[in-house]
Symmetry: C2
Subunit: 150 residues, 2 copies
Amino acid sequence: MNIGEAARQTGISVKMLRYYEEIGLVRPALRTYSGYRVYQDKDIATLRFVRRARDLGFQVKEIATLLGLWCDQARSSAEVKAVALAHVVDLEERRRHLDDMIGTLRHLAHNCHGDARPDCPILGTLGADGPVAPPAPRRSVVKAGFAAAV
Amino acid sequence: MNIGEAARQTGISVKMLRYYEEIGLVRPALRTYSGYRVYQDKDIATLRFVRRARDLGFQVKEIATLLGLWCDQARSSAEVKAVALAHVVDLEERRRHLDDMIGTLRHLAHNCHGDARPDCPILGTLGADGPVAPPAPRRSVVKAGFAAAV
DNA sequence: TTGGGGCTTCCCAGCATGGGAGGGTCAAGC
DNA sequence: GCTTGACCCTCCCATGCTGGGAAGCCCCAA
């Protein structure tokens, strides 16, 4: 099948199909004599794997690892689990970061009367004189910075 | 003060200070006769504002809006609050997305015995035959796709 | 034969950030 | 005065993932 049909069947855009091939995530598709890419069932299966992994937030490099394990008959499920759990840790880190930001912002918005007057604790906090949060221990940067400022 | 000192005082890297100036987020710093940027107290205050907004996850465009409001004596706090709350909605959307991914992955990892054998429900799910999640209603793509697949 | 849709490659864009090359400037110390 | 090292300048490139678009070829149906 052609690339358009492959895109339809995998949910990956034509652009991305070519990109994944270019960066070596998937092996180059066969070509017709005129240069059209031709996708076979096993290519589609691989691409669906990629698509699902992407939907789970895996980066291309991690997907490459997973694809390698998928093809490796001698893999141990422990390896796969390790990759998955490492990714969970990463996602949770990002989630905590979002939580911090949401918490701070909601707190600020809650204290803002939101009427026609210009006084606003949100801008007041952002524009406060004090030093900015230290760039160091990451995950609590926002919280710490604003705990001090608020 | 020079750009290096400004970077130290604001927690924004030298690279970013130049970038923010280039894209017009902040007005160009004064220059010495030899071309060095010179930062004044009010520049530092502005940059700290930018830094804090960035720490709250605002994009540069949104920060530009907030800076505009900050400088606008005639603003209403309602406008500011609206920007903040819209951003909260966005952050929460992203958090839901992360939650979906974390939930699915933890579920898969939980069902993976993680030993020396190759059998693995994680890979099994990623490589399942069925159609891939429809790209449409976004926030539940992952969940739906895997609910069907698992 | 012609038209339209699909395919090809190549280049560009975005976000926010960092790296590095190649070269000028400044201040301190000899 | 001269050297040295830290600092600054601009310019280009890279990242990760995605999309847009141009120029040109291919294929099928009418």
